[in-house]
């Protein structure tokens, strides 16, 4: 790789493509050779702004636009909040909700695209095992293994100067005989007025590790609000603390530098989230020749999901039916079955959720 060269012929001052300007080289005339390092430096300095590039941010819903479960509050271990963001807690109490940012917040951030924040009002418990965490699991642990990554975000404390910790874990998934989860050491920052923070991590290689066979291995980003001594190292030594903190503009990218926030198109954000969780509505109708007749209807999911989802059906009216179930669930559809109560028209309306969350 050290000898790779990219050559371009142009006069000094002439634009190449959109923004590339030939570099002045002593002794050169109309051609120059840029090393790969020079190209990377040039690209990182200009590409995000000039080319409006997207795809650097590997997190989903980092702006918290997608809220298929509503605005909260959520208080229980295992709850999902804004799409893709979950809560993990032990002994601590939390109240996580989606809160609208104010013009003052937007001015402090310097971006009027800031609309929603993830707000956690929490109380730390003094127990050694106590903690509270907001996390996102990124599908496929191999995407980030062996790489340097940078996590960046805007954050602010409602009062005081609490710490906020960040760590990275690698979960090997299920099925077969997967290796144990690799637990990462955390880093922390001290918060105050709204500001953007970044931390760089080296994600361990998975060489020699065995991944589960079910395709559910992941890299987990943990945001630590409080932690007792048991998880102090993971939590970046944030300690036991209480407070209220908001987050916005979450980004995780490959590389050692935090680049400008990558804000995918809302359509793309919705599709990313619906791969893991989606809600929908539908209607089924038919005619039964008598009682105890089975009627079937297939519901197509909005996007192909990560895995076969768990389906929750909520009938919302109808007539002449009972015993609605879901079966033949795939990543793209499921079948509803109902039983007629008597001869005649059968109809029902329903809403559903389909969850393939990691």
């Amino acid at each position: 790789m050290a000898n790779i060269k990219i050559s371009a012929a142009a006069d000094a001052g002439t634009l190449l493509g959109t923004d590339m300007v030939p570099m002045a080289r002593s002794g050169s005339s109309t051609a120059y050779h840029a090393t790969m390092a020079e190209i990377q430096t040039f690209t990182s300095a200009t590409a995000s702004g000039s080319m409006n590039n997207v795809g650097r941010n590997l997190l989903h819903n980092g702006l918290f636009y997608i809220q298929q479960r509503g605005a909260g509050p959520w208080t229980a271990n295992g709850n999902f909040t804004a799409d893709r963001w979950g809560i993990s807690l032990a002994l601590d109490t939390v109240s996580v909700s989606m809160v609208g940012l104010t013009d003052a917040n937007r001015a402090a951030i310097g971006d009027e695209a800031a609309v929603w924040c993830l707000y956690n009002s929490f109380t730390g418990n003094a127990g050694a095992a106590a903690n509270n965490v907001v996390f996102q699991r990124l599908e496929d642990a191999r995407r980030l293994s062996g790489k340097t990554i940078t996590v960046s975000f805007w954050a602010s404390a409602a009062s005081g100067t609490p710490k906020l910790g960040v760590s990275i874990d690698q979960a090997m998934g299920t099925g077969g005989s997967p290796s144990a989860t690799v637990i990462g050491n955390g880093q922390s920052v001290t918060l105050g007025a709204p500001a953007r923070y970044s931390m760089t991590f080296t994600v361990p290689s998975l060489s020699g590790k065995t991944l589960g066979t079910n395709g559910d291995h992941s890299t987990q980003l943990n945001i630590w609000y409080s932690s007792g001594s048991t998880n102090a190292t993971r939590a970046g030594n944030v300690g036991v603390q209480s407070g209220a903190i908001w987050l916005w503009g979450m980004q995780l990218e490959i590389g050692s530098v935090a680049t400008p926030l990558d804000k995918p198109d809302p359509v793309q954000q919705a599709l990313q989230c619906e791969r893991f969780y989606q809600i929908g509505q539908g209607t089924m109708s038919g005619y039964a020749a008598g009682a105890s007749q089975s009627l079937y209807s297939t519901t197509a999911l909005l996007v192909q999901m990560r895995a076969q989802p768990t389906v929750v059906l909520s009938p919302a009216g109808g007539t002449n039916y009972s015993g609605v179930t879901a079966s033949t669930i795939t990543g793209g559809s499921f079948v509803q079955t109902a039983t007629s109560s008597a001869a005649g028209q059968v109809a029902w309306n329903y809403s559903y959720t389909a969850s393939a969350d990691l």
């Binding site: 229980a76 295992g78 709850n79 999902f80 979950g86 299920t174 099925g175 066979t213 079910n214 395709g215 559910d216 008598g290 009682a291 105890s292 007749q293 089975s294 990560r306 895995a307 076969q308 989802p309 768990t310 389906v311 929750v312 059906l313 015993g323 179930t325 879901a326 079966s327 033949t328 669930i329 795939t330 499921f334 079955t337 039983t339 969850s355 393939a356 969350d357 990691l358």
Partner: protein, 61 residues
């Protein structure tokens, strides 16, 4: 928590959760339908906890 297959081919489990019960990423109360897919968090929870699953009961008629 009550679990039973919803079809003879045992590809789906109906799970009825009481208040306070959890299954994978879901919290009761409520009824959900869990595919017997190793990539599904709720099914993995059933397997990990060795929860008993009732047989499929076909509809009458």
């Amino acid at each position: 928590m009550q679990l039973a297959y919803t079809s003879a081919d045992q590809t789906t489990i109906q799970a009825t959760l009481e208040a306070g019960e959890t299954l994978g990423n879901l919290h009761g109360p409520g009824t959900c339908f869990v595919p017997t897919d190793g990539g599904n968090a709720e099914y993995n929870d059933i397997v990990a906890r060795s929860l008993p699953i009732g047989p499929y009961v076909p509809p009458p008629g």
